[in-house]
């Protein structure tokens, strides 16, 4: 139970970071951290199907698609 609380706090920290970073690559990395911790939390709550979906989508695809979109637009938030 304490473990879930620790992981939730870590996820909140990463989410707040994703909101406040001006460097969008750092924000994307924070999003990847949120997805990772969400996957571990689903796993701890005994939902391996959802954890696997979160892992498969969040590990590579979203990060890469965001990075390509940043390459096509601009790196720093104005």
């Amino acid at each position: 139970m304490i473990y879930i609380a620790i992981l939730t706090v870590a996820m909140l920290i990463a989410g707040v970071g994703a909101y406040f970073f001006r460097d969008l690559i750092a924000a994307v990395v924070a999003c990847a951290a949120v997805s990772l911790i969400a996957s571990v939390l689903f796993y701890l709550l005994q939902a391996p199907d959802v954890a696997m979906a979160e892992a498969a989508i969040g590990a590579g695809l979203t990060t890469a698609i965001f990075v390509i979109a940043i390459r096509k637009t601009g790196r720093y938030e104005k």
Binding site: I57, G60, A64, R71
Partner: protein
Amino acid sequence: MRAFVSFSVLALIVVGLALSLSHIPFGNSTANTDRMHVAKYYLNNGVKDTGAPNLVTAVVLDYRALDTLGEVTVLFIASLGLGIFLSWPKKEGSEDDDKRGLPPASLIVRRGSQFLFPLILLFGGYIFLHGHLTPGGGFQGGSVIASAFLLMFLGNTGYRLRQKTLAVTESLAGITFVIIGLIGLGVGGYFLNNFLPKGSVFALFSAGVIPILYAAIGLKVGAELAGIVANMFGSGSEG
């Protein structure tokens, strides 16, 4: 000011949701109406009805298979919209993007991606073919397959996918899904009826049509997501 307004609206929505949901007895079977009735039915009869030990698969592809068809269609529409948006004809004078050579990846990344590509494809196939036995299924396996193509795009500059192959794969998988549903309608009386023999539980070829449907969904999702990735890589850049 704008941030404050949006935060207060969000807080209002959260408080309203919490207030309206607070007196619903989720999972409380001692209340006068049993809200876990359906869940209990699935837990007790799921394996007997569908032959799939993974009850999530039993719900997704047997009890609620029509919703899954809708889900796959939503993903198809998203992929189609992105494809149309990114293949919009560009203005004159902006066509030198492709000639601007990208630096090639290092030898380790190049060879490593080529070595890992078939293995990751095999892993994705394993995930969606064992969807009725282990966690995972068509959506997860499809995203793993799309990740393999993403790895090839990242490791090899100038790697291209033929959009026509992707489109044919995706269409064949979707047609397979609908045809199996129609055969079920003809044999058993309702759409996506599980008409094949269930087999023995925990065997690979068991659970009737569920492995076939999951293979179709896996190929369809994989082709759609790989198409999204190919579209993102294929269009020019400005950064």
